[in-house]
Symmetry: none
Subunit: 304 residues, 2 copies
Amino acid sequence: MAKSPKISASHEPGGLIVHISGLLPSLSPAEQRVARLVVADPAAAARRTITDLATAAETSEATVIRFCRSVGMDGYPQLRIRLAAEAARRVEPPDARVVGGDIPPGADLAQIIATIAFNDARAVEETAEQLDPAVCEQVVEAIASAGRIDIYGAGASGFVASDFQQKLHRIGRIAFYFPDVHTALTSAALLGRGDVAIGISHTGTTSDVIEVLEQARTRGAVTVALTNFPRSPITEVADFVLTTAARETTYRSGATASRLAQLTVVDCLFVGVAARNRSRARKALEATAEAVLSHRVGANRRRG
Amino acid sequence: MAKSPKISASHEPGGLIVHISGLLPSLSPAEQRVARLVVADPAAAARRTITDLATAAETSEATVIRFCRSVGMDGYPQLRIRLAAEAARRVEPPDARVVGGDIPPGADLAQIIATIAFNDARAVEETAEQLDPAVCEQVVEAIASAGRIDIYGAGASGFVASDFQQKLHRIGRIAFYFPDVHTALTSAALLGRGDVAIGISHTGTTSDVIEVLEQARTRGAVTVALTNFPRSPITEVADFVLTTAARETTYRSGATASRLAQLTVVDCLFVGVAARNRSRARKALEATAEAVLSHRVGANRRRG
DNA sequence: CCACGGATGAAACTTACTTTCACGAGGCGT
DNA sequence: ACGCCTCGTGAAAGTAAGTTTCATCCGTGG
């Protein structure tokens, strides 16, 4: 497969826990058991000895060490220290029942709202924290000077892709989004040096998106991946990797929080690109806003 | 074996560092050397091994252990962890929050990211705060028992509408979204008692959406409006009004934060509906997840 | 001058951490 | 279907970290 020079920074600035949960799916089953324990209660994990933790995770010490290495630590003691630090920094969750992420069976609407809002807001914040401005900068640069920008995404990520496309279009950048693989592949085949291809996939395993991104790459386009999992397959076909930091709670309940995280990243890129040429972008935005004015009623409210 | 009968000191009010420097004079000379190192740079000390620290303090490991006991710790590892935690807490985020909302002309990417994330997160939180659970409950009830659900939205709100449609569909509710007015009107004309129509418009002034919602209402459907402005025209054709709380900042139009707020509301409704019938919803989700499985590539991969 | 007690570090010891290795399961190509 | 090969795994060996023990040193007071 393609060599992967990747710029996805091996730093985990946005917090160790976030980093670990992002790596979760790329870990082996036994390591995942360890990871889950650690994420569930970092402070407790920090207090445990390696043997203790291994036992709790029903595995051997060796696996715990492997886990440490997998998440970028030198060894167990270092992990312990970092965990302790992390746990201390973490602001006490306002509401204990809200924190786990999962919604209790008997929950009433108020509880559900609080839980969702908390998780959504946190996904946004944590994503921003761990975003590497340097990588963003390069992506923005690429987009700003691209001849053409293709954006790919399937399912829930498709909405995000589509949203991004619309945004870029509104400030005068030539951007496309394709809801269907075949069209996308066709388009990718026509990309070349100086073009940009952006693939969005929460799991990073959506084969359609990967395939298209790979195609784009072989044509010489700059490829960008937006995913929640920094070691997922999609990152192997991307020149730049941007990660979100959503710890998806309940099952694949439709990538609830991750969507918001993705949108936040999109917004950042968008504003970054727009900031490159303030006046032109503003003019374009005003023009497009005016265009839909006739579809607005009672214009005397706030901003139309 | 009996531990050193150290006096409790179970609590070190005001922090471990303060505690240590407090009893510094009561320590033996060699222990004081250790203490001074620790107090001077807790974070660094936490990273050191006991031998390392002993050497730095020009003493033996034994003395370091004695020091640990003297300050009320069980042993060196515990001290390390406490130290790490302490150091982490101490480092208060000095970053002057980029409040205000608008992005200064000369802003760099890091600033842009911080600003956007802050506003996005706040929009989500504030939206949740002002959401009326009672109204949500009724909307959820209506959706849960609806024969059919139509969702309308244009432009950026269209993505949200589309997202909601997909979500409801995934848990087995019959939901539709129409990107175009005419189709939407046609559909609305076919709604009846027991059906639900949801109109999404950030400004609340999008005539297309209002028109369609009105149509739906005259046909006897329950109408729901999701908007940022509780007094906007759309609210006049809605039985239930749900509001977001995004203060859109000036020019980054595109309804950046409001979109996230809308999605949060959508999530709440979605989870609310899903919670009505847990097992069926879960089964449906699992089925749909399985359906796309063949489009996923091996997720279990370690670093290349 | 010697007995005594606290402080201290060397070394023995224990526990924790790390590495190595062999086995077994599952995938892949033939 | 077969065998090869890779990968995940834990047992056990090996190393390093932490802890205890104990002899020594040193100052003090008898």
